[in-house]
C-alpha cells in the first residue's frame, strides 16, 4: 500500500514537471502548429529568473520577506519568458508561418543564441536588457493620454525607448551590486528554496518533500488557469477561432496578428513558470532546457495535438511509467519473479534506460493510434 502510494506520488511529481514544461508547448504547437525548439531555453530563462529574484530578495531591505520570493519569481518568470517569446514571434516566427520545418530550424538557432547569451552575459546586464524591453513595450500603455496626444508618434517612440533604456541601465547598475549577478559564468547555479519549503510533510507513512508538493500545486493552478483562459475568456475564444480558421477569423475582424503574438507569449510565459519548477529540482545551467524539451514534445505527440486533456493524461502517464520502470517497482512488488524477468527489470531500472523503454513504448503505441490518445476527428483531419 505504501509502495503504491509512493509510486503514485513520484509519478505524479515527475508528471507534473513534464506537464508544466509541455503546457506551453501544447499551446504553441497544439494551437498554432509552431514547433518551438527554443521552448527549452525559455524554461531555462525562467529558471535563471528564479535565481535572480532569489538574490534580490537576499538584499537587506527584502530579507524579511525572503520566504515569499518564490511567488514573485513565478510572476516575473512568466513575464520574462513571455517577453522573450513575444520578441521571438515578432522577429522570426511570424515570417515563417506555414513553414513548420523552417520554424523548427530557426528556433533551434534561437535556442543556441539564448544558451550562449546566458553563458557570456552577466545576469545583471541580462536583467537590464529585459527591463528595457519590458518598459519599451509597455510605454505606450504606461504614458498618460495627455502626453501621448501631444507628441508625434515617432518622437514619442524614440523618447519612450530612451526612457526604457535608462530604466534598463539603472536595473543593470543596481543588480551589478550583487556580486553573484555581476559576472558571467557558464557554470551551473543553485536556487535555494525558502525555509518553509525545505523538508517534508508526513502524509500517512509517506514523507512528501514540500518542493514537489509545491510544483504539483503550481501545475494544477496553471492547468486550470490556461483551461479557463482558452475556454472562457474572450481572447481565449479568439485564439481558438484563429487556430481553427485563420481567414474567416480575419474577415470577422479578429486581429489575428495580435492573437498570434498573444498565444505565443502565453505559451512562452508558461515555459517561464515551468522554469521556476525546474529550478527547485536541481541546479540551473545553460543546458537545462534541453533535458525537458524532448520529453515535453513526446507528451504533446502522445496526448494528441490540440487537446489539453491529452497533454494532462500523457504527462501523468509518462510520469508514472518513468517511476515504475526507472525505480524497478515491479521487483519490489514481486520480489520472487523468475531471474530472467528480474534481469530485464533491473536492466531498465535507471533513469536513462527508463527513457529508452518509454520511447519504445510510445512508438509502439503510435503504431496503434497514430494520432495520439485523443485524436481529432472528422473532415478537419487532412490525410
Amino acid at each position: 500500500m505504501t509502495l503504491l502510494f509512493e509510486s503514485l506520488f513520484n509519478g505524479v511529481a515527475i508528471g507534473s514537471v513534464l506537464l508544466m514544461a509541455a503546457l506551453g508547448l501544447a499551446v504553441v504547437f497544439g494551437l498554432m502548429g509552431v514547433i518551438n525548439l527554443a521552448h527549452g531555453e525559455l524554461i531555462m530563462l525562467g529558471a535563471y529568473t528564479t535565481y535572480v529574484v532569489q538574490n534580490i530578495f537576499k538584499l537587506e531591505a527584502l530579507k524579511p520577506c525572503f520566504g515569499a520570493y518564490i511567488f514573485v519569481a513565478v510572476l516575473v518568470a512568466f513575464m520574462v519568458s513571455a517577453i522573450a517569446g513575444l520578441v521571438l514571434e515578432r522577429s522570426v516566427i511570424r515570417r515563417l508561418y506555414g513553414r513548420p520545418l523552417a520554424t523548427l530550424l530557426a528556433t533551434w538557432g534561437v535556442s543556441l543564441i539564448l544558451q550562449q547569451f546566458v553563458r557570456t552575459t552577466p545576469m545583471a546586464y541580462a536583467s537590464g536588457l529585459w527591463m528595457t524591453l519590458l518598459l519599451g513595450l509597455l510605454m505606450p500603455v504606461l504614458l498618460p493620454q495627455r502626453i501621448r496626444a501631444r507628441f508625434r508618434a515617432l518622437h514619442l517612440r524614440v523618447a519612450g525607448w530612451a526612457l526604457a533604456l535608462a530604466g534598463g541601465i539603472g536595473t543593470a547598475a543596481w543588480l551589478s551590486g550583487i556580486s553573484r549577478l555581476s559576472r558571467a559564468s557558464a557554470r551551473n547555479v543553485d536556487v535555494t528554496a525558502p525555509k518553509w519549503m525545505r523538508g517534508g510533510i508526513e502524509l500517512g507513512s509517506l514523507n512528501v518533500p514540500v518542493p514537489r508538493l509545491f510544483i504539483i500545486c503550481l501545475t494544477v493552478v496553471a492547468v486550470i488557469a490556461i483551461y479557463w483562459f482558452l475556454n472562457r475568456s474572450v481572447w481565449g475564444i479568439r485564439i481558438r477561432a484563429v487556430t481553427q480558421n485563420r481567414e474567416i477569423s480575419d474577415c470577422l475582424g479578429i486581429p489575428t496578428q495580435t492573437v498570434d503574438a498573444l498565444t505565443f507569449g502565453i505559451g512562452s510565459g508558461l515555459a517561464g513558470v515551468a522554469g521556476v519548477a525546474v529550478s527547485l529540482l536541481g541546479s540551473v545551467g545553460p543546458n537545462v532546457g534541453g533535458d525537458y524539451i524532448v520529453g515535453s514534445f513526446m507528451v504533446v505527440v502522445l496526448g494528441g495535438v490540440g487537446k489539453l486533456v491529452g497533454t494532462v493524461v500523457a504527462s501523468f502517464g509518462i510520469g508514472l511509467l518513468t517511476d515504475v520502470i526507472g525505480a524497478g517497482r515491479l521487483l519490489e512488488v514481486w520480489p520472487s519473479m523468475p531471474p530472467t524477468c528480474a534481469a530485464v527489470v533491473e536492466f531498465f531500472a535507471t533513469t536513462s534506460m527508463a527513457k529508452v523503454l518509454i520511447f519504445a513504448l510510445i512508438v509502439a503505441f503510435l503504431q496503434l493510434r497514430p494520432a495520439g490518445l485523443f485524436p481529432r476527428k472528422g473532415r478537419m483531419v487532412e490525410a
Binding site: 476527428k377 472528422g378 473532415r379 490525410a383
Partner: protein, 257 residues
C-alpha cells in the same frame, strides 16, 4: 437495391452498396448505392455538403465507410490502401488542382505514366507507348512547346488541365473527376467537356461539378446527391424538372450554389 442495373447486363465496373460514413454523428453519406457500367460517363451533382467529395474519398480508400461495401471489377475495395486502389485502375482528380509544383510538366506526366514500384522507377525505363502518351498529352493541354516549365508556374486553369492529363497518363479504367472546370474560361470548359466525352467508352468516367452548363454539355446521365444519398437519377432535362431537385437547390433560399 436501388442502384440501376447496367442495361447491357454485363457486370458493373463500380458498385457502391449501402455505403454510410459517420463523422461523429454527422452522416456524410447515408446508405448510398450507385452503379457504374464499364465505359459509362456519369455526372454527379448536388448542393454543398451533399457528400460528393466524401463519396470519392470512400472509393479511393481515403475514408473507410462505417457500413456498406464498395466493389470495383467485382472485388471489394474496403480496407485497401490508396495506392493499391490506384494501381487497380482508379484515378482521381482533386477538387482544387494538385500537381507536383517543383517538377516540370513532362516529369509530372511521366511520373503518372510510370510503373509505380520503386525498383521500376530506379532501374526500369519508360515504354514506347507511355512515352508517346506523355508527348501526346502535352499536346492536348497545349503546352507541348515548353515541357520543362515547372508545374508550379502554371496558371490555375493550366494546372486543372495538367491534373486531368496526369489522370489520363495514369491510364486508369475509372476516372473520378472532381470539379474539373472550376476556374476555367468558357472556352476551356467546353474543351474539357469534349475531352471527357472522348475518354468515355475506353474509360469509365465519373464527373462531379457545380457548373450546370458544363454538365449539360457532357450529355450524360446525371445523379443528384443530397444529404449523403441519391436523390434522383436521369438525363439533365429530367433532373432539372424534378421537383425534389428544385426544392433541394432552390427551396431553401440560403443554400443555392
Amino acid at each position: 437495391m436501388h442502384g440501376n442495373a447496367p442495361i447491357d447486363g454485363s457486370a458493373p465496373l463500380l458498385e457502391l452498396d449501402g455505403v454510410s460514413v459517420d463523422f461523429d454523428g454527422f452522416l456524410a453519406l447515408d446508405d448510398l448505392s450507385l452503379c457504374l457500367a464499364s465505359g459509362e460517363l456519369r455526372a454527379v451533382i448536388g448542393p454543398n455538403g451533399a457528400g460528393k467529395t466524401t463519396f470519392l474519398d470512400v472509393i479511393t480508400g481515403k475514408l473507410l465507410p462505417s457500413s456498406g461495401d464498395v466493389r470495383f471489377k467485382g472485388r471489394s475495395l474496403l480496407g485497401q490502401q490508396e495506392h493499391h486502389i490506384a494501381r487497380l485502375g482508379v484515378g482521381r482528380k482533386f477538387q482544387s488542382p494538385r500537381v507536383f509544383e517543383n517538377l516540370s510538366l513532362r516529369q509530372n506526366l511521366t511520373l503518372a505514366a510510370s510503373v509505380k514500384t520503386p525498383l521500376a522507377l530506379l532501374f526500369g525505363s519508360l515504354g514506347r507507348s507511355e512515352r508517346d502518351r506523355v508527348e501526346h498529352l502535352l499536346g492536348v493541354i497545349d503546352l507541348a512547346d515548353r515541357p520543362h516549365l515547372l508545374a508550379g508556374e502554371l496558371s490555375h486553369g493550366q494546372k486543372q488541365w495538367l491534373e486531368i492529363a496526369m489522370l489520363v497518363a495514369q491510364d486508369p479504367d475509372l476516372l473520378l473527376v472532381d470539379e474539373p472546370v472550376a476556374g476555367l474560361t468558357d472556352g476551356e470548359t467546353e474543351r474539357t467537356a469534349d475531352l471527357l466525352r472522348e475518354l468515355a467508352g475506353d474509360h469509365t468516367v465519373l464527373v462531379i461539378d457545380h457548373d450546370m452548363e458544363f454538365i449539360r454539355r457532357l450529355d450524360a446521365p446525371v445523379t443528384v446527391l443530397h444529404e449523403g444519398h441519391v436523390l434522383c437519377e436521369g438525363t439533365m432535362d429530367q433532373v432539372q424538372c424534378d421537383p425534389a431537385v428544385t426544392e433541394v437547390y432552390l427551396g431553401r433560399a440560403d443554400e443555392t450554389p
